[in-house]
């Protein structure tokens, strides 16, 4: 598919060159499409359904159902948010299975990602968590809700501790560059938060209550109303945590008593989040739908103090509050040869630090998007689209002259099932931003079915993707330090993956191995140059290997599901414009090795699960000191589902986390909780 072009236009500026620019871009895209057509092997006569096509090629005709399950993204009644895989055949996109997703519904995105995928996050104890996908920085991963990138426009990143899993139905993660689909910022990857359209007939409801250690509480409800055509889904939650856990404080220096370590309790790190998503969906027909999603979120937490401050300044409280309004609506019409989708959104973000409402940090966005998809035949389709947004920042340190910034993205995608075994895709995107030059970002991907036998199949996928990130508003406009002349960060991602699926009567599963090489140039850091300012400072290269495997089998006659994820992430700073002894060394907060294992056994509607996570040592600065030790966390859970009758279900689940009471840090100098529990009850009607 073809990428996107973004464009930003300052409103009160005449822009006679826009139409010319658009013409040129469209011309470029058309030439690329034509070139690809011309260079493709002759269109094969073999007809196959195009999405997940190579995945769903039958290993064994009788086992088609199983295979389509274990090797796909569920495209049935898909999330409003996109056929992620169809036009990115070579990309690694993982959807977290329902059973695992359900286990972490009471928590945040941070807990879900770190325990189910080979992903590392830098966290404090539930107050702040940032992702390091494939060794990139937090602002190199976009978090998407519909067509909205949740990342703060001022800071460029999302706090994964503030993304509540209770509100969503599924989460997908794209590993590796995804700028051609998601736009600026998706250098390391992208996360998609999904809602499923259920087209409820009648009423369905759910209530959930969860209590855990250190004052953790979650209350949630979901109410589904509908007649099969119209549907209203209301999801709401309230979450709080006192976070008053005990830990060994090694930052105490009592020189008079020669005491340098004590048992301490974390103070002033409580969390209180609440949110609501209201969906209003209408299905005119199977091919024509309208969705409307409104997400209101208010997150409050006390910024966790480091160990020494926690001990010496027990009264210190630094509250931080985020409020968000996110609205996304989309009309989809697939009735005709040219399928089209029209979407729009509005986002309001405000952050209040330490109760200071005078120093406003607020942004608003209005977004519009239109795309058209055309299937030339069963093997070939393409999609073109345009996305426009206007961003209005109100930040106390920005110039009053900065009223808004416009962005326009043109994108095009092309899908070609070349033959029974080979699928190829191309994505192109050109972004245009007011007074800022954005690189053209193409992506090429392929998927090849190496063999398909009676009970096994092997696929290979590959991807070459260019990516970029527009510097944040703070980078460009903060006081007199912002630098509007920064270059965009630019990335290149090369990916090669293998996936072997196996199935017999009792066992099915897969082993997936992905290797990648990713570089990010013009990486922006704030540096001291007679005052702090952002500069394009360094070039970073990340190469690695990700092994993921999951198996369903019978263990002494019991249904069992086990999985193992391992990630080798070699990320090095290759060049730096500042003095650094760490050029050629592993980057900070990126463990070279990390992995997790999980296993769930089911017996009479009771699940017993165990999982562990290993994180290698991590550098925390450019020197060889203050290195975080490696750690190993072991967790256990048990859950049982009671079916009261055909309409009423009741589920109880207990989790025991960090059973070994491991003393560890994820962020240097910040305490993390030891052994803790969580108990949840869920009641479902219909």
């Amino acid at each position: 598919m073809f990428g996107t072009v973004s464009y930003i236009i300052q409103v009160n500026r005449p822009i006679p060159y826009i139409s010319f620019a658009i013409k040129m871009i469209m011309k470029k895209i058309l030439i690329c499409i034509l070139l690809f057509f011309a260079l493709s092997p002759a269109y094969s006569n073999i007809s196959c359904a195009f999405y997940t096509a190579s995945d769903s090629i039958s290993i064994n005709a009788q086992k088609t159902n199983i295979l389509t399950v274990f090797d796909t993204i569920q495209l049935n009644e898909v999330v409003s948010y996109g056929k992620l895989k169809k036009y990115q055949s070579g990309a690694k996109i993982e959807m977290i299975p329902d059973r695992k997703f359900d286990a972490y519904r009471d928590g945040s995105l941070e807990q879900l990602l770190s325990r189910t995928l080979p992903i590392v996050l830098k966290s404090t104890a539930g107050t702040l968590s940032t992702i390091r996908l494939r060794g990139t920085s937090p602002n190199h991963t976009s978090v998407n809700f519909g067509g909205i990138n949740l990342n703060s426009l001022t800071l460029g990143q999302s706090n994964m501790s503030n993304v509540p899993m209770y509100l969503f139905d599924e989460v997908g993660v794209q590993f590796g560059s995804a700028s051609t689909v998601n736009g600026s910022g998706s250098i390391g990857g992208a996360i998609h938060l999904g809602l499923r359209n259920n087209w409820t007939k009648g009423v369905k409801a759910e209530a959930r209550i969860s209590h855990g250690s250190f004052g953790e509480e979650l209350y949630g409800t979901k109410i589904y109303l509908g007649n099969g055509k119209f549907e209203s889904v209301t999801r709401a939650y309230f979450y709080k945590k006192d976070n008053n856990f005990k830990f060994t404080n090694t930052a105490v220096h009592d020189f008079e008593k020669s005491i340098f370590q004590i048992e301490d309790k974390q103070r002033n790190a409580s969390v209180e989040n609440k949110g609501l998503i209201q969906e209003l969906n209408y299905k005119f027909s199977e091919e024509e739908t309208l969705i409307f999603n409104l997400w209101l979120e208010k997150d409050w937490h006390q910024i966790q103090q480091n160990m020494q401050q926690n001990y010496y300044k027990p009264e210190q409280k630094e509250p931080y509050e985020d409020k968000h309004i996110r609205l996304w609506t989309s009309y989809k019409n697939n009735k005709k040869l040219f399928k089209y989708e029209l979407s729009g959104g509005y986002v309001y973000d405000i952050g209040i630090d330490n109760g200071n409402t005078d120093d406003t940090i607020q942004t608003q966005r209005i977004i519009g998007e239109a795309s058209v998809e055309h299937e030339l035949n069963k093997k070939i389709s393409y999609k073109i689209g345009v996305k426009a947004s206007r961003i209005s920042p109100t930040v106390y340190t920005y110039s009053d002259d900065l009223e808004y910034e416009d962005r326009l993205d043109f994108y095009a995608s092309y899908f070609h099932k070349i033959n029974r075994k080979l699928t190829a895709t191309i994505n192109l995107r050109q972004g245009l931003v007011t007074d800022f030059s954005v690189p053209f970002t193409p992506t090429f991907g392929f998927k090849y079915l190496v063999f398909s036998k009676e009970n096994q199949a092997l696929n290979i996928n590959g991807n070459v993707a260019k990516s970029y990130r527009v510097p944040t508003f703070n980078d460009r406009f903060w006081g007199d330090q912002g630098n509007p002349d920064l270059n965009p960060e630019k990335g290149m991602n090369y990916e090669l993956g293998f996936k072997w699926n196996y199935s017999n009567n009792e066992t099915f599963g897969h082993i997936q191995l992905n290797t990648y090489f990713l570089n990010v140039d013009e990486w922006i850091l704030w540096v001291n140059n007679n005052g702090w300012e952002p500069q394009n400072v360094q070039k970073v290269e990340s190469k690695g290997l990700e092994l993921m495997t999951a198996w369903n089998y019978l263990f002494f006659g019991l249904k069992t599901e086990s999985g193992f994820n391992y990630s080798y992430t070699s990320t090095e700073r290759k060049k730096s414009r500042t003095i650094s002894d760490a050029v050629g060394r592993q980057l900070e907060y990126v463990p070279l090795h990390s992995g997790n294992f999980y296993s769930t056994i089911n017996y009479n509607n009771t699940d017993f699960s165990v999982d562990f996570k290993y994180t290698d040592k991590q550098y925390t600065n450019e020197e060889d000191n203050n290195i975080l030790s490696s750690y190993f966390l072991l967790n256990f859970s048990v859950g049982h589902q009671f079916k009261l009758n055909n309409k009423n279900k009741f589920k109880i689940k207990g989790m025991l986390n960090n059973i070994l009471d491991t003393d560890y840090q994820s962020t240097f100098g910040y305490a993390m909780p030891g052994i803790n529990y969580r108990l949840s009850l869920t009641y479902n009607i219909n």
């Binding site: 930052a251 220096h253 009592d254 020189f255 008079e256 340098f260 480091n306 020494q308 401050q309 001990y311 010496y312 300044k313 330490n354 200071n356 005078d358 120093d359 340190t397 190496v450 092997l458 290979i460 006081g479 007199d480 330090q481 090369y494 090669l496 293998f498 191995l513 290797t515 990648y516 090489f517 850091l525 540096v527 001291n528 140059n529 007679n530 005052g531 190469k543 690695g544 290997l545 080798y568 070699s570 090095e572 500042t578 003095i579 650094s580 002894d581 760490a582 060394r585 592993q586 900070e588 070279l592 925390t620 600065n621 450019e622 020197e623 060889d624 000191n625 203050n626 240097f668 100098g669």
Partner: protein, 357 residues
């Protein structure tokens, strides 16, 4: 075959090599020493101390850890030598703590009560006066105060409210001068009555340096919240409290040691900025002649990216360089004609030189 080939390709795609080299710099140091205060990073690495041995021309890092076996738990904003101790203004954790100025050993716990964001200090008799911001001064300029510490009891005896974000301090003839960083004035407190008067200024101030006649030079700076074009050095006659400005564009507004005097106080070395040949701004050291009361036409050095403090010792100009808060910085020494003499690796974010006499 195909699979094998592709597998080999995949493996070949990763030729990663990582080698770490441990660099242990622990070395002995001799007598005749001065200390370099390395601020560290605010949210992670805390301060460290480097010791400069001018006899053997060595700089040794991690001196506090070496002596005390534990690392510091604060970011030291300023260090001050008085009456056998070196007092340090620690932030995050906020405390005033001290070590013996000969051994660098800490034997007593620091003062944390009534100390919030300490910036600078100066002593008079049995009292240490500490400028404190008291909280988010940028949001509320009334939070700040002077903490009056009784050096016998090692307690804050009094918090003297002083709005405007006091930074640098100086005491002359029973008067405490406080450079206000959020108000266009310099506060003057009578030490007996503890009553303030103010000297109006054309820009906000950050630090003082006292000449050998006990008059003061105060940096006049432009900041985001208090923009001014009237920047440079202010001369304050402490007999009359009259104010005179010697303009210097681009004078640094960093919270580091931005002014240093040579031994006979004929020259002041002032951290500033200047355009490079490629018209990008970076750090420079300007020279102020105290006899002519004017800045020399040429800076001592230009184009120092990451300049983070100046000092003077042993007839050499010391400059501290720190482009980031996650990597070690540098001490670079220059002769008084601007010739580079030597570079030394320091801890993270070196910001000042402290001579112990």
């Amino acid at each position: 075959m195909k699979i094998k080939f592709l597998s080999i390709l995949a493996i070949a795609a990763f030729l990663f090599a990582s080698c770490d080299s441990d660099d242990n710099n622990d070395k002995d140091h001799g007598a005749g020493t001065s200390y370099v205060v390395n601020y560290g990073g605010y949210s992670s690495d805390k301060s460290s101390i480097s010791v400069y041995d001018d006899v053997n021309d060595l700089l040794t890092n991690n001196h506090f850890e070496t002596v005390n076996t534990v690392s510091m738990i604060s970011n030291v904003q300023y260090a001050y030598n008085y009456d056998g101790n070196i007092y340090m203004m620690g932030n995050n954790t906020d405390q005033v703590f001290w070590v013996d100025d000969q051994t660098f050993k800490q034997t007593e716990n620091g003062i944390t009560d009534d100390i919030i964001k300490p910036r600078y200090c100066v002593a008079d008799g049995d009292y240490l006066y500490v400028s404190c911001w008291g909280g988010d001064i940028w949001a509320d300029i009334t939070l700040s105060y002077i903490a009056k510490i009784n050096l016998d009891t090692k307690k804050v005896e009094k918090k003297i409210a002083l709005e405007g974000g006091p930074e640098g301090l100086a005491i002359v003839d029973g008067k405490l001068y406080a450079a206000l960083n959020y108000k266009n004035s310099i506060a003057v407190m009578d030490l007996d009555t503890e009553v303030f008067s103010y000297i109006e200024t054309q820009a906000v101030s950050s630090y003082f340096i006292k000449d050998n006649k006990d008059n003061l030079y105060a940096s006049q700076i432009s900041t985001y919240s208090s923009f001014s074009t009237e920047t440079g050095l202010a001369y304050i006659n402490t007999d009359t409290d009259e104010y005179e400005l010697y303009k210097l564009d681009g004078i640094s507004n960093s919270y580091v040691n931005i002014i240093s005097a040579d031994d006979d106080f004929s020259k002041l070395y002032v951290m500033t900025s200047a355009y490079n040949a490629d018209w990008s701004i970076s750090g420079a050291i300007a020279v102020f002649d105290t006899a002519t009361k004017s800045f020399e036409a040429e800076n001592l050095v230009n184009g120092v990216s990451g300049l983070n403090g100046v000092g003077f010792n042993d007839d050499k100009v010391f400059s501290f360089v720190s482009p980031s808060t996650t990597a070690n910085g540098k001490l670079v020494t220059y002769s008084t004609d601007g010739t580079l003499i030597k570079e030394y690796e320091t801890g993270i974010s070196p910001l000042m030189l402290l001579e112990v006499k």
